[in-house]
Amino acid sequence: LTEAACAGSITEEQHEKLNALLASNDDAKLFYVTYLRMHGALLWHCRDAGVQVPVLSAPLVASPVFSPTPTGSTVSFFYGALGCVSSGWPMAYLLATVILGIGLAIGAVTYVSQPMCVTAMARPAVERFPALMPTPKAATVGRITGIADCRPTDPKAAVTENAPVSLGQRYALASGLMEITYSTGAKVILQGPVKYEVESTNGGFLSLGKLTGSVATEAARGLTIRTPTATVTDLGTEFGVEVEASGATRSHVFKGEISVATGAAASQRKLVRLKVNESVFVDRSGNLSSRQGADADRFVRQLEFNPFPGVLTAEEGTEVYAETFNRDSKLFPADYPNWTFGQPEPGTSGEAAAATIVEGVLRLTRDAVTGAPAWHVDAATTTRKFSGRMIVSVDIGSDGRNFGYSHVAIRLGQVIVVFHPGFSSKDGAFLRGAFRVEGIMPGTDMGFTPDVDVLHHLFVYFDGKDAYQVCLVDGLHSRNVFRTAFTAPQNSGKAFSISVHRSGNDNTGMFDNLRVIQLPEIKQPATIHKDGGGVP
């Protein structure tokens, strides 16, 4: 009867029986609500499964400059700077809410309850429903989105960048790194030696070795890694799993939470939830250890990317300032003594505004008390000043209100590097992203429109004198890379603070992972080419 209710096929007579049963039996009630709650959870989970989350069609640059060492070293700057579309699912919800609001405001009455169905139904029947076809082909569930020094155990097995990843596919690496991005948006980075089988649309079986898992969208939540002794389920997070030859498993949480279930028989099975910086060990017999600290240094968390290959061919920088805004807060500046927040851009008529940190992302909309617009406000400014040759990077974006008409920026002293998420054209001409440098470079077409509700990756190189290079990587489609260069004397020989910055009436600027890498001075002046491939 409960099944018929789920399936929507219940008859009137059956419903009467069900009603009578539920009225007289408490166990039946619990059974019914649990079963229907499961049905509801499946609806919730699967309604997002049809969303075609863009995958990286071009791999990240696997430059030999930065070897794939774990984070924490002087080159870790680049790992943390890419692929961090953190909090993607709440952003997606907020966007959906705003769209809903707009729809109501204009009196639209048409409600598309399953918008993702449009995408799913547009696909051919065979692709949509392979399980029912006479000769089903393996479904593609993602792509290989990056490799570095990757050596398969079987020399005949080819691992190529951008190759599709199918259900049931197995990977065995003797060494090196391979990143899989599932269509849900979940990512795993396999770290050789490793054996991994793709066993679902959002997970796999790790029989040996290490991987790092992360999710960037709500559809990716629930990324599940099984091992011989445990099942690790993501709850909106970044985590590492390591499987020993015996099958014993250690799971670490770097961000958010995970659940770890032991693989023992039902009667002895244990389930534990781990929070950030915790780890737990399941031995080969399925026994669960007490919680310990996480060891992030043992895991590669991002594949490398060199935003300025011409500049950084043979040198390493030193990270001198880094902030991940991981402590949610509205009590500034006490929680972040190295920053000032919500101050007007110097020389403008803006008012102070309140910044907040929610879900590990710095956000600034407007003054929280007066509701006044926050025009040209520095969401956060370093109290420390910097000088000399450096690279500054930040994950940066804007929400979808006033689509494209507010900018976000990074300010190095008096040099403000600006772009407009969501902006595509002006007066009929392409001006995608509307990149500019205030007072130095006019509005420029970036060649792609960085989307709203996404954190993009902005890098600025400063030679310490007057030459700058900019590299902006699209946070959704990493093949979209905008590069430019310019000269500006304002910061020459000066020490300056660095700010992340927004403008506009209503949009929320979003910022994360601001880092400053100090580079050694060079004796000869650099020649910067317009294409960004500058040669010192």
């Binding site: 649990t34 609806l43 029912l132």
Partner: protein, 189 residues
Amino acid sequence: MPAVLMHDMDAPLHNSFNEQFLRKQREVFAYIVTLVPDRNDAEDIFQETCLQLFQKAAEFDCAKSFFPWACGFALNEVRRFRRAHYREKCQFDDGVFEALAELQIRSAETIDARLGLLMDCMARLPVEKKELLLHCYSCGESLNALAVEFKIDPPTLRKRLERIRKTLFECIETGSEPSPKTLEGLRGH
């Protein structure tokens, strides 16, 4: 959404509300489904509930549990729906309806613990069954329509889906692997 709501949504005062909402929205949706199993009706009610929640966000006491507070709004919307559709058949009696609603709040911890295993249990399903489940749930089309489109008997498709759901339920109830009998049944299709 009225402008005031959009303003409220960003106010720092409501950070806790936003966080709780984002964490619990799936449970609230599933709560609605238990009372109104039709997915389209449930989606509509959920949408109305969300509007109510955001309008009342300032009243949320972060010291209290979000789920029962949010379910109160959802329950009101479901009651409104029942009143509007009272002529339709297949509605539970008021007593049963209220008891099901109340039970979910009272037994929230037990139910949440079981549903916490759902993703794990899905991962254990045979790949082709998992695919079938995802495709059937991912689209709003009726099973009959899907069955016609793929030229199979609707009862066969319904039966396959039923078996998969039962397997999942067995798994979340016991936290165990599907029984050999269940697996055998699945392989037979």
